[in-house]
């Protein structure tokens, strides 16, 4: 065969970003459960990535409490990604976290040929900063708007209406995790079923339902909650 025309081939990047609430109310069991759930999900993410070699799954994480920072700033191939435990304490500056994420979704450096990013927001409380401003900044970026946005509410104190606005449409509701087992299940779903859907999205017309950027499989049903095992 003659030399292949064109430059070097490249698979399509898929950015997967955990956006984790590290406020004081997350301290103790909740933050430990979150660390465990994400750590447990990583091998399953690798399995999904290996099943679709045409997507390069790149993972990183943002934490927010008093302000927001990259917890793991380098977009790392999931094969090499290792979860670093979070610790909790402080406020719930969710808006700043969304602004931080928006900055990394700008095009460029984010290529137009990328696969839709997956943003997983996990929170147990109410934003203490300007959430609206952060959300506007995120949705002003084309990839922010086209991202698959999921939200997991930890415990009964989470503001579901805020998380619903982050999701941006009514086809999917925030996933309510009331204990560690449910959190593991939801993180696993986001990290595998959703990742799989986002890594092989079907092209679609502009008439697709607003905000539904990638058709997703149904989320897992939360098992009945043991009253003795609730946050």
């Amino acid at each position: 065969m003659p030399k292949l025309p064109g430059g070097p081939l490249a698979t399509r990047p898929l950015h997967f970003i955990f956006i984790a609430d590290c406020s004081g109310s997350m301290a103790g069991d909740k933050i430990q459960a979150l660390n465990h759930a994400i750590r447990e999900a990583i091998p399953h993410m690798r399995d999904v990535a290996r099943g679709n070699p045409n997507a390069e799954v790149l993972v990183r994480s943002v934490k927010f409490s008093a302000g927001a920072q990259w917890h793991q700033s380098q977009a790392t191939n999931v094969e090499a990604f290792e979860w670093k435990d979070l610790s909790a304490g402080g406020m719930t500056d969710m808006g700043q976290a969304l602004t931080l994420v928006a900055g990394t979704l700008k095009t460029p450096p984010m290529p137009e040929r990328a696969l839709p990013p997956v943003l997983v927001l996990v929170s147990d409380g109410e934003p203490t900063d300007d959430f609206d401003s952060g959300l506007r900044t995120l949705l002003a970026e084309p990839w922010g708007k086209k991202a698959v946005r999921l939200a997991i509410a930890i415990g009964e104190g989470a503001r579901l209406d805020v998380l619903q606005r982050f999701i941006g449409h009514n086809e999917l509701q925030p996933l309510q995790a009331n204990n560690a087992e449910q959190l593991v299940r939801f993180i696993r779903w986001a990290s595998t079923a959703v990742l799989q859907a986002a890594s092989a999205p079907a092209s679609q017309t502009q008439a697709a339902p607003a905000g539904v950027n990638v058709p997703l499989p149904p989320p897992p049903v939360a098992a009945p909650t043991d009253p003795n095992d609730v946050w």
Binding site: G7, T11, N54, A55, P111, R113
Partner: protein, 304 residues
């Protein structure tokens, strides 16, 4: 991995304009057990060469059928379009551009919808058959290009420089694209006519699975001079014989999507062309300004 051997091949017209093309099923489609939803037709009618490509949307249940119908009706309509222009003595760039923007755009979209209803029944939902459309027509006088939705049209000149005569539609982002199945779809079909280049030129048309297999437009556009050089060395038929291998390699190492590629090779003009280039309006502006009017097929005697 299988290609469309029926579309493979190249023949020469009397003016030595030649066309070829090929499609392959995407690596992801093979893994998922989905059919190839891209389609392609190459037609030579006398000295007219037509290449049409279509990419059915994966979200549509009959995407492969929609793409097949798109290239079938487009090739037939374009051959008739050029024939009608010629019978009227209007096979010039200005007329092709004018008629191409109106009524051809409306005719193509309408013909596709009618073909869908013939196949799927009167109650067929166009949304189930959604597809993009890209085409090129080369005659000894002119080059007519059209695009609805994502994908790429590249022109490569004799020096190997690549240009995009129809700019990327800003409505194409991520996996979202304008489609033949949407209301007023004809307004998204951008048509451009230009004089047939005097210098050697290669026209490349591809569905988005090709361009998305490279890290950047610049890396992708390197296919332009590479294919041109290969055509010079092997002839278009020789290149066509390798397209199955090329495109299969690209989908596996790149996007994983179906890929269709069409080529039209225009050798250098043997003598200077007398027709001066005309000022052509921006096809996007033309599309935006034109009213959505009902039209009948272009008939001899119809005024531009």
């Amino acid at each position: 991995m299988s290609g469309d051997s029926g579309a493979l091949g190249a023949t020469n017209t009397p003016r030595a304009l030649s066309g070829a093309g090929h499609k392959v099923i995407g690596a992801k489609h093979v893994r998922d057990g989905r059919p190839c939803q891209d389609d392609l037709r190459v037609e030579h009618a006398g000295d007219v060469t037509v290449v049409a490509l279509a990419d059915g949307h994966g979200s549509c249940v009959h995407a492969d059928v929609g793409a097949r119908l798109a290239v079938e009706v487009t090739v037939a309509a374009l051959v008739a379009f050029i024939g009608n222009l010629r019978s009227e003595g209007r096979a010039d760039v200005r007329s092709a551009h004018s008629f191409g923007n109106h009524p051809l755009r409306v005719q193509l979209v309408r013909a596709w919808a009618e073909a869908v209803r013939e196949v799927g029944g009167a109650d067929a939902k166009l949304m189930d058959y959604g597809s993009t459309l890209i085409f090129a027509v080369a005659t000894p006088e002119l080059l007519l290009l059209g695009q609805l939705g994502d994908g790429d049209i590249l022109l490569v000149n004799a020096a190997g420089a690549v240009s995009r005569p129809i700019p990327t539609d800003p409505a194409c982002f991520g996996e979202e694209t304008p489609s033949l199945c949407l209301p007023e779809a004809w307004t998204s079909l951008r048509v451009l006519a230009m004089p047939l280049p005097d210098e050697e030129t290669l026209v490349l048309l591809s569905t988005d699975g090709y361009g998305k297999s490279y890290a950047s437009d610049q890396e992708f556009e390197r296919i332009g001079p590479d294919y041109l050089q290969m055509v010079r060395e092997l002839g278009l038929g020789g290149v066509a014989a390798h397209l199955e291998e090329f495109l299969t390699t690209v989908t596996h190492g790149g996007s994983g999507d179906d890929i269709a590629l069409g080529l039209i090779y225009i050798p250098s003009a043997p003598s200077p062309v007398t027709e001066a280039p005309v000022s052509i309006p921006d096809p996007v502006e033309v599309a935006a300004d034109e009213p959505a009017v009902e039209t009948s097929p272009l008939e001899p005697g119809e005024a531009p």
